[in-house]
């Protein structure tokens, strides 16, 4: 597998990637907790964006309800931890199958009845909203009063139980983002990846080319959901509190899709680049506003709105394809 990657990927891309991850791996040695917390947020959105991209970018099905899967992941692992002391890594064994099962149900309903386009997006919103309202009344996870994880001292890191300081969380999400990138790359270059692209491009033609579109769409939505659920587990143990009203809120779903939209939907680097562009820009804006003593609630959302507008107008393909052309890199397929 490694041999194939070394052969298939242009030398320039490999060098760039290695440098990029090397710099990120070195960051905790030079930067403080403030920079780390921002980077954690960036990588979290890069990770979840990469997972979302499998469904939208590769297969062409727009999900506006991916908070459903982060939420299910978060609640599965956190409730097992709170109630039974089950470590999050073991909790993943419940979180991922639960997210995949729900995605399977949603996918079955959608694809069995040929729901696509905007109607599919509405269905994903509906599922996330069901979960939001359902969890509000789900007493075992404390309903709307919220589920709280015991907060540990920052002094010692417990990697197994995910209790510790930002540096530990940073390395976990960094490794996860790198893995998500690798998985997306391998999937895209596989038979499954080609079939997904075919479905995205023209579903009728894909069927006429012998592709069992139902099966491959089910795979896409379930893999995407399973990957996304890990983001939720991470979110739960990083923030230590979960409220259905927040976790499953449509704003969380929209946040997940912003990074790949800005970076370039359907590209491998798009979610990562988009997450960096969005977060550094909004953090920069916050710093500037603070310096001038301006306090406007919701300014971040308004700013993101403008960034999105600007990018949709100026770079409809996203930032990454534009950067890639400048760097002389070519990513196959859009």
């Amino acid at each position: 597998m490694i041999g194939r990657i070394l052969r298939d990927v242009p030398r320039r891309t490999l060098v760039l990637l290695a440098c990029f991850f090397a710099v990120l791996a070195a960051v905790p040695f030079i930067a403080g907790d403030y920079v780390l917390t921002i980077l954690i947020l960036i990588l979290y959105f890069a990770y979840t964006g990469q997972a979302w991209n499998i469904l939208m970018g590769f297969t062409g099905y727009l999900s506006l309800g991916h908070a459903l899967f982060t939420g299910l992941g978060a609640y599965s692992a956190a409730s097992l931890f709170v109630h039974f002391g089950v470590a999050p890594w073991l909790g993943l064994l419940a979180a991922i199958p639960i997210a995949m099962a729900v995605a399977g149900l949603m996918g079955f309903l959608a694809f069995r009845f040929r729901v696509s386009g905007v109607y599919f997006a509405i269905l994903t919103i509906a599922f996330a909203e069901f979960a939001r309202i359902g969890f509000d009344h789900f007493a075992w996870v404390s309903g709307s009063s919220g589920l709280f994880l015991p907060v540990a001292q920052y002094a010692h890191n417990d990697l197994w139980r995910l209790r510790g300081n930002p540096m530990m969380f940073y390395y976990i999400i960094l490794v996860a983002t790198a893995l998500a990138f690798l998985i997306s790359y391998l999937l895209l270059r596989s038979r499954t990846g080609y079939f997904w692209l075919a479905i995205r491009e023209d579903e009728q033609a894909a069927r006429a080319t012998g592709i069992d579109t139902f099966r491959y769409k089910m795979m896409a939505v379930m893999i995407s959901a399973g990957m996304t659920s890990f983001g939720g587990v991470f979110y739960a143990f990083y923030y230590n509190n979960l409220f259905p009203e927040q976790v499953f809120h449509i704003a969380r779903s929209i946040e997940i899709i912003l990074a790949p939209m800005v970076g370039g939907i359907g590209t491998l680097f798009g979610p990562i680049v988009g997450a960096f562009v969005l977060e550094t820009a909004s953090e920069g804006l916050r710093v500037i506003l603070e310096a001038f003593g301006i306090d406007v609630p919701g300014i971040k959302q308004v700013f993101w709105g403008f960034v999105l507008l600007a990018i949709v107008i100026a770079l409809p393909e996203g930032v990454w394809p534009w950067i890639a052309r400048r760097l002389g890199l070519k990513e196959r397929g859009p």
Binding site: R189, S190, R191, Y194, F195, L197, A198, E201, D202, Q204, A205, A206, R207, A208, T209, G210, I211, D212, T213, R332, G333, P334
Partner: protein
């Protein structure tokens, strides 16, 4: 002579309209068979039933000795029927090579093997030099050949061509005719085509079926069919026969 495709008395109704009315045809293994007729005669509907886009209201379709009517398009493709669309449907954002790769991967799950086969197919359809281009940037004749390439890549026993010559200049038509003749003679692909371009039909087909208002009005060898009175009146017009 074995029969590859046997259509018996199929009918398709859309609400009150009978689009295809009790049509039968037999395509022998290795043949090139043409379906002609004026616009709205039911040709594409007939095709769509064979390709599995929709099931006939009555009648049967047998491919390779097995009933296939009512099966879905992907299953029919896997049984060995490749098709093109009247309105071309390449995968626009993918490269020419990746378009054909999708077809090749159907029977060659290994990426390397599929890529090799893709190159062979591209070469056969004169698309090898354009393999890195995006499909959306191709000219119409190239896109039409790309669709044929993608269908051929699935290694069909029967190829359904829906007006692949439409909109082509005479020289391009001749080139396409040449491509199909080679596919048929050198690679044993049986071809069933819908065509308006009589120049191509006369050059290729061994047998013709003429549809008019959903019904078969003539059937036989090209030179006989074009002289039948009903065909001339309904479709060709008197000046077409010399």
């Amino acid at each position: 002579m074995t029969v590859l495709l046997k259509v018996e008395g199929i009918t398709k109704r859309f609400r009150g309209l009978v689009a295809v009315d009790n049509v039968s045809l037999e395509v022998p293994q290795g043949a090139i068979y043409a379906v002609i007729g004026p616009n709205g005669a039911g040709k594409t509907t007939l095709f769509n039933m064979i390709a599995g886009e929709f099931a006939p209201n009555a009648g049967t379709i047998a491919f390779n000795g097995e009933r296939v009517d009512g099966l879905s398009p992907d299953v029919i493709c896997r049984r060995g029927v490749g098709r093109t669309f009247q309105i071309v449907k390449p995968f626009p954002a993918l490269s020419v090579e990746d378009n054909v790769m999708v077809g090749a991967l159907l029977r060659k799950p290994d990426i390397g093997a599929a890529r090799e086969w893709t190159r062979v197919v591209l070469d056969r359809l004169d698309l090898f030099d354009k393999r890195a281009q995006r499909a959306s940037s191709l000219t119409l004749p190239d896109r039409k050949r790309l669709e044929v390439a993608r269908a051929i890549a699935t290694e069909p026993k029967l190829l359904l061509l829906d007006e692949v010559m439409a909109g082509l200049r005479p020289t391009e038509t001749d080139r396409m005719v040449d491509v199909f003749r080679r596919l048929n003679q050198n690679h044993g692909v049986t071809i069933l085509l819908i065509e308006h371009v009589m120049r191509a039909v006369m050059a290729l087909a061994q047998e013709i079926l003429v549809l008019h208002h959903g019904a078969a009005i003539a059937k036989g060898a090209p030179k006989d069919v074009v002289r039948e009175k009903a065909v001339i009146e309904s479709y060709l017009g008197a000046e077409a026969v010399h």
